[in-house]
Amino acid sequence: MRLIRNLVRDKLGITSLLFLVLVMLMGVFAPIIAPHDPLAINMPLRYASPSWEHLLGNDHLGRDVLSRILYGIRASVLWIFLALIISVCIGTVMGFIAGYYRGIVDSIIMRICDVMLSFPVYVITIAIVGILGVGLENILFAFVLMKWAWFARIIRTSVLQYIEMEYVKYARTIGLSHRSIILRHILPLTFSDIAVVASSSMSSMILQISGLSFLGLGIKAPNAEWGMMLSEAREVMFTRPELMIAPGVAIISVVIGFNFLSDSLQVALNPELRQPSKIIE
């Protein structure tokens, strides 16, 4: 509750949050709000400039750019969000096991994490795409595989920090089960760290997916994805530069949104970080 109250006070944070929620809703309801079929090819409108009928113009096959941007939210934001949640869940479980039980389990999990973290994400993703084939699902799979280790590490550290607290020790002494100690006394505390780390890595994941789609490794044609739209626009970069604007702005604004949100979350969860003027208030 305090979290939301703090967040609401931070104008930038709440604007980002609302913006992102709006974007995600637009993605979910794309079939309803999109003015045209994103896949409908209409050659006479090839490279047409914006008009009332097609607000952002048309691409190289005469498809409506606005509708493609809206449908692109699904691949570029929603699916990544899902992948993020999955890897955060795996990371949390692993981090808790390692941090709470310590000992040999901890060593094993942390060594696995070391191995995973020592590979560069891009290289591994490209390798996985090479083995499993081109496709968004394979990239997301690669991301889940690579990212959980990062979350596990951070969450373990944060668990270690709380496990030494007096009341946790007390809870142990009175014989509460491990499950309820974790769920009731530690998880709520680590939740803030999880939220901050997750929201900040969301933006890097969006950029990475866009990057890989740009290289032609992501979602398959004809489905819309922002990175791929950029790559399609790149081919006519010097003759029709305006085509890069829509997907470019979409990617930038969502990434900026997530960055601001993660900053504000951090402040909201940890009031010490707030700027002096606000404390006085």
């Binding site: 090819i41 006479p44 096959l61 032609g216 398959k220 044609a221 006519v236 010097f238 029709r240």
Partner: protein
């Protein structure tokens, strides 16, 4: 203080960005004997007896005995030749003034060694039927060689004129008398010599000062690797690169609008060859688990492709609509064939009659629980192929066929073609010098279209007919056989033609003498000069 620093930093950044924007056009146009051309891929292994190398580069360095021109076969390294009565013995009289780039003399011995090196690696050359027909090659005297065949083979001279493999490398470069396991150098007899090669960066060719047909006027040609079309466009605007042309695989990396923009700016000219080949989709009739093995499906795809729109909108009229595997100006290809024009209703009808039924408007047709789904492979370096693929995907969806698109490197696509691991893929016929004989012969070659044609009913009979065509002396009979072969592949709808492609050259305005060969694979750089 802090704010000042920030402003300064911002200004600095702005200046850097703006500085990057100004066009620093290199004024090196005075240097008028150099060409720098952009290539999507490295020139690769220049060994002329193998296939990974860039053909346009190999064409500059190596030469064959005879040359294929518009007027027919002309002398090149062989001044003249005689063919024996029975058509199995060819005697070539070689030019006496030719030396390899390493100073070695070109003579009958070198010819014999090169031929033997090629013949010792016969499996690699299965597509060129001549490799199967050569019985022996003998030196008659220093400048005369005699080629003996097992049987009559009418395209012999045409195949000897090709860019590879029957071209000549200095015997000093051979490894243990062979070329199949690599060579020590790349010394040919051609107008240009390879002087420097940095893999994936550039290759430099310099004029051969001892060239037998006169020193080329262009002194230096650099092949610069620029994988993306926009970089090429930018490099041409800046003058880093001043020449670009359609590459070996038929991919134009610069888009047509970009070319027009360059030409309008006034520094460049655009030259297009006449129609040279047919760009098409090859259907794998031999893959029995794929719907592409069914004739009706292939026919329906043919009917569902709007070639007019592709030619007009995607190629902006630069390529013309193709209705058959070979355009009628190709030898032996003036055959009357059933026209299959764009007709969505017809495509639907064919599928319906063939038992592929559709449940609702927007779904995929099914037959016996199997969905009408196929994979189409295109060259990821070619923006026009991707656009066509997406366009065709849209049209086929209307008919109830689901097409999955996969963009891959051209080598990977060639590999799929050789192993049969595809449903549909983009390809092109091999150009006037190769059509129809080599392309038809390639129907029987594992590395080319064997998988594609395997599904033809009575395929064995069909392959025998191809064999027969190539060894027939009687012109009339050969004509009939070709007619029969072309009709079969047309009726089976294995090669779904799209457009007739050509070679596009973008060159500096003051470059003269731009001409084309009979193949899309090389350009006669030695004939070009600056004015």
């Amino acid at each position: 203080m802090f704010i000042k620093l920030k402003t300064m930093f911002f200004m600095l950044a702005a200046i850097t960005i703006l500085a990057g924007c100004t066009s620093t056009k290199v004024e090196d146009n005075k240097n008028t004997d150099e060409l720098v051309y952009a290539t999507v891929k490295d020139i690769n292994d220049m060994n002329p007896h193998l296939y990974p190398g860039s053909m346009s580069a190999q064409g500059m360095v190596y030469e064959s005995l005879v040359e294929n021109t518009e007027e027919g076969i002309k002398p090149l390294l062989a001044e003249s030749w005689e063919i024996s009565e029975d058509g199995t013995e060819y005697t070539f009289h070689l030019r006496k003034d030719v030396t390899f780039h390493d100073g070695e003399h070109f003579n009958a011995k070198a010819v014999k060694q090169n031929f033997e090196a090629v013949q010792n690696n016969k499996e690699k050359h299965a597509w060129i039927k001549l490799s199967d027909k050569i019985k022996s090659i003998e030196e008659v005297d220093e400048y005369t060689v005699k080629l003996t065949l097992f049987e009559v083979y009418y395209p012999t001279l045409v195949e000897l004129s090709m860019t590879r493999p029957y071209v000549f490398l200095s015997p000093n470069d051979f490894k243990n008398g062979e070329t199949k396991d690599g060579v020590n150098g790349f010394h040919g007899t051609g107008p240009f010599k390879l002087t420097e090669h940095k893999v994936d960066q550039y290759a430099v060719f310099e004029a051969n000062e001892d060239y037998w047909a006169g020193v080329p006027k262009i002194k230096k040609i650099t092949a610069k690797v620029l994988p993306a079309g926009e970089t090429t466009l930018l490099a041409m605007q800046k003058g880093e690169v001043n020449f670009a042309f359609t590459d070996d695989r038929g991919a134009d990396s610069i888009n047509i609008e970009g070319i027009n923009q360059l030409v309008q700016a006034g520094d460049y000219q655009l030259t297009r060859s006449k129609q040279m080949n047919t760009k098409m989709i090859v259907a794998n009739s031999g893959k029995s688990e794929s719907p592409a093995s069914e004739k009706n499906v292939r026919e329906a795809i043919w009917y569902a492709i709007d070639r007019e729109t592709i030619s007009r909108d995607i190629f902006e009229g630069a390529e013309t609509v193709a209705n058959s595997l070979f355009s009628i100006n190709v030898n032996y290809a003036d055959v009357s064939l059933k026209e299959r024009n764009y007709d969505i209703a017809r495509a639907k009808e064919i599928l319906e009659n063939a038992g592929w039924t559709i449940s609702s408007q927007d779904s995929v047709r099914e037959k016996g629980g199997k969905k009408l789904e196929m994979k189409l492979y295109y060259d990821s370096n070619s923006p026009s192929q991707k656009a066509q693929a997406e366009f065709i995907q849209g049209s086929l969806k209307e008919v109830g066929i689901n097409l999955e698109l996969n963009g891959e490197e051209s080598t990977s696509i060639a590999n799929r073609r050789a192993t049969g691991d595809y449903d549909l893929l983009f390809n092109q016929t091999w150009g006037l010098a190769y059509d129809p004989q080599s392309t038809v012969a390639a129907f029987t070659s594992e590395a080319s279209y064997l998988h594609a044609t395997k599904g033809i009913p009575d395929a064995e009979q069909f392959y025998k007919k191809i064999e027969e065509t190539l060894t027939t002396i009687d012109e009339e009979k050969r004509k009939l056989l070709y007619e029969d072969i072309l009709k079969t592949v047309h009726d089976e709808a294995i090669f779904i033609p799209i457009t007739n492609g050509n070679v596009t050259v973008v060159a500096p305005k003051n470059l003269k003498g731009i001409s084309f060969k009979q193949t899309q694979y090389e350009l006669p750089f030695e004939k070009m000069y600056f004015e």
